[in-house]
Symmetry: C2
Subunit: 539 residues, 2 copies
């Protein structure tokens, strides 16, 4: 058995299934690029059968991230498919343009799932697995099969199903603890049993896929790896349905920090972890709490505000990892109002944002405006500014002006001026229960896209009373737009998130709401985005 | 060995050490009452040697929560002390009024801590432990001793130190993985070794105390319990320094959900978990992410928005716990503008808020105001309203009026009217970088209490565009107020959090900031709170 653990990232598939984590295909592509830079071995780019948009997003990733013009080895691009020809065809259509494509198909093997969900008996399940794995293999060399709810399946039936899947052509066998039910001992024993009892398993990679319902996902994943699994399925920040999937950063840093115990390596460039975490949090709108292992704001914060003394020089007294090893920079203060264009460019390149010259012009303009308001501009400010300016969804309606009055007199009023897709300017005033409600009501009166606000959050990006406020919103369309869930074969209402960053949080709230609305309008095909001309004007 | 796992909650001690989690003694008392209702066996109420305020907070908890007039058994109230007479004296002074007091003392035993932090050799460490455990035992029957950084200590030295501590009178031996470094296998083996090799251990309780730096705190705690530990040290929501402590809710629900495997019980009333989680999050200002196991907003959310079909009736296909088992109510819609005082009272009692008649009058008034603005009032709205109205710190300055203008024209202006501790009304207008900045600048001009804003966050409590916005702020006084860290023997800058809930988020922001400022002013002794008269006027 080799000592290399393959990191299979499913942020774009299982992660995106969390409520509100829906992303545009541009956002997905951006995350895929970041995952490639992070060094993941395989990325599950989506579930192509869900919708034509989902298929197209996976296809773009397969083409643009699954190939490298410089001749270095790109990551494997994987598409999920239920055990049906239609799903497998769509997955193949989406991933085939990658240099290294993979199809991942699954079927449940626990009694409870077979009885209530599939309404199939064991023989029928085996037959379907053999047929569909074989069909997938006829299209693609690299096939992954998962017996869904393996954590609650009869082990002897698992050995049989997996053995048949291998004969039919599966090359990776993934063992999911779908409902996050097992303990590390059980899960390790399950993997051990599979490795010992499944015919033909020696030539395959065994993979583990855990959920965190009891807070044990990382431990279960590590237990599976110690038992011999050599692929771990994870998401950045541990996002995913319910309590989420195993965190990429926790598994990777446990393996790296305790290398002498595990004796294993991964291909991850750990210094990219902090940036990937931030990007995924921004695009999905799912916050990372300060006490999150590895990527939380406090994870390395214990030296802040403490009187330095000799003891602290020996950082290992209370620190088992260096913040730099996961890409957390200690330097906070970087630029101020007297910093020039060159200083900004240099710092942005250091932060991993090599902007084009016209983009840099625009960024510098925003930077000067911010520097007029805010004494010191930190890395976090710069990242928020770049995200706000360049990583927004394509625009349909743009904010042209906003004026708000509110307070304890209880008549919050907002006047909004928007530029529509037709180039026309629309103005509307509205009263609400608060300044954000008034602003959103005024926007609604112009945009006329019925939706329910599901989530609204603001946080200050940096310390200080003059900080940039970053707003995240999540809306659900009320026109019946739904998204297919591959496992439960049911449809969720589709939700869209948007974010905006400004020192004025009401302006940021308006921008975030418009971003989410624009995503929704584009997804429903009601509007085409304002393309080239408007973008050119902006950059 | 018995089958009962004692739950030792250290939310008020190790949890409160997280940056920004400082609480007022009223908030601590409220949390202590909630922990008592939750059924924790022991609560570590604080570190009395840190400051006279900390001692007083622990003393109040010992008196008011550590005794039960109805004759039922109250929880053990524990105070932390470094291995020094002064600390032990203060801990005893604080906890002695409880019916069941405990002193918890500690000293580091790892080579790295002994060499760089303590500058003591092994013999000196043993000598100090024997002396101080013996001294503590001369005051109190129930003594807990922790060898700090046990996870990185030489096991054979641990056996020796623990054996001596037992001889000196320790009744509980707590084994901390101080830096969150161990894996479940290592930590289980450590506990197993201690149980097998420590002289006199049979008559003691072995306890485990883990940190989540590698995401393994829950798994390590469970591994320790399986190896024979019968006390688990935990915090609500897993708060604590860096990546935090083991989560109470994860350990308890793992033991309960997988009872056939563990064969163990706890005294926790799991239906109180959701409420405790919410209270701790409110008072500490530390957010719970949606994908947090057990208490995250999405932990049980997967049925929302899904087309119901036959399969979903068998909830166990994708659900290993019922939301009701941890006190999450599925009912969202409860009251509207036509609901009467009686309906409100009934619902508040069901939610665990048995308000007095004058309090209920006040709550009903707030409820009617909210119902005028908001179509449906949910449980979450009611809880926010009650917290905002009744669980605020005692007031020094109160908000009398606020008027704000902001928007894209870039001159956000706020006019603030405050009533001061002298009963005088003060008005000030200020311009800022945004509406919150302008408001805070106007407040600062009146209150004149220098501070740095460390954190600012807003979230909508419920779905819908007219939701209540809840604001959490954290400030750090710039006048040198510091808080002693018991382990590193260094001082942190003291920080204070405040929260406010209103449909107008700028008004909520003003209230949250004032709450934090009032906490700070009371803590520094600059002002006495506005007592009886003003409170009476309010209720």
């Amino acid at each position: 058995m080799d000592n290399y653990v393959r990191i299979f990232d499913t942020t774009l598939r299982d992660g995106e299934q969390s409520p509100g984590a829906s992303m545009t295909s541009t956002e997905k592509l951006e995350i895929a690029r970041t995952l490639s830079k992070l060094g993941v071995d395989i990325m599950e780019a989506g579930f192509p059968a869900a919708s034509p948009d989902d298929l197209e997003a996976v296809r773009r990733i397969a083409i643009e991230v699954g190939n490298r013009p410089d001749g270095t080895r790109p990551p494997i691009i994987c598409g999920l498919a239920r055990a049906s020809r239609l799903d497998i065809d769509k997955a193949w259509e989406a991933v085939r343009h990658a240099a290294r494509p993979r199809i991942h198909t699954f079927l449940a093997t626990s009694e409870i799932h077979m009885q209530y969900k599939l309404k199939m008996d064991r023989e029928q399940v085996v037959e379907r697995v053999v047929e569909m794995v074989g069909y997938a293999r006829s299209l693609c060399e690299d096939i992954e099969f998962s017996p869904e709810d393996a954590g609650r399946s009869d082990p002897s039936f698992l050995y049989l199903v997996l053995g048949e899947a291998i004969k039919a052509g599966a090359t990776t066998l993934n063992i999911p603890d779908t409902v996050g039910y097992t303990t590390p001992e059980e899960f390790g024993a399950l993997i051990d049993g599979i490795l010992k009892n499944t015919p033909g398993i020696d030539n395959c990679i065994v993979s583990v896929h855990c959920h965190d319902d009891l807070g044990l996902a990382t431990a279960n994943t590590l237990a599976g790896i110690r038992a011999g699994a050599r692929q771990a399925e994870v998401t950045v920040n541990g996002i995913g349905e319910r309590a989420g999937n195993t965190s990429l950063e926790e598994v990777v840093m446990a393996l790296h920090t305790r290398r002498p115990i595990f004796g294993l390596t991964t291909g991850i460039d750990t210094t990219q972890i902090a940036r990937a975490s931030k990007l995924v949090s921004n695009y999905t709108g799912i916050v990372v709490p300060p006490n999150k292992a590895i990527v939380g704001a406090n994870a390395f914060a214990h030296e802040a505000g403490i009187h330095q003394d000799g003891m602290l020089k020996h950082h290992t007294t209370y620190e088992i990892m260096r913040p730099e090893s996961v890409g957390v920079t200690r330097t906070k203060l970087v630029l101020g109002k007297h910093s020039g264009r060159h200083a900004l460019k240099t710092r942005l390149v250091e932060l991993g944002y090599p902007l084009s010259e016209p983009e840099l012009d625009k960024a510098f303009e925003r930077f000067k405006l911010l520097a007029d308001k805010k004494k010191t501009i930190t890395d976090a400010d710069l990242e928020a500014l770049v995200a706000d300016e360049f990583y927004q969804p394509r625009e349909v309606f743009t904010l042209d002006g906003l004026q708000v009055t509110c307070g304890t007199m209880g008549m919050p009023t907002a006047t909004v001026r928007l530029r529509g897709p037709d180039g026309q300017v629309h103005v509307h005033a509205a009263i609400g229960t608060g300044p954000v409600d008034a602003t959103y009501k005024a926007i609604d009166a112009i945009v006329k896209a019925p939706n329910t606000l599901q989530e609204f959050a603001i946080h200050a990006i940096t310390e200080g009373i003059d900080a940039l406020g970053e707003v995240t919103v999540r809306i659900e369309g009320t026109d019946g737009m739904r998204q297919l869930d591959p496992q439960r074969e049911v449809e969720h209402a589709r939700t869209f998130s948007g974010h905006g960053a400004e020192t004025d949080i009401i302006v940021a709230s308006a921008k975030a709401y418009l971003a989410a609305l624009n995503k929704m309008l584009i997804a429903t095909g009601q509007y085409r985005p304002v393309e080239a001309s408007a973008r050119a004007e902006m950059t």
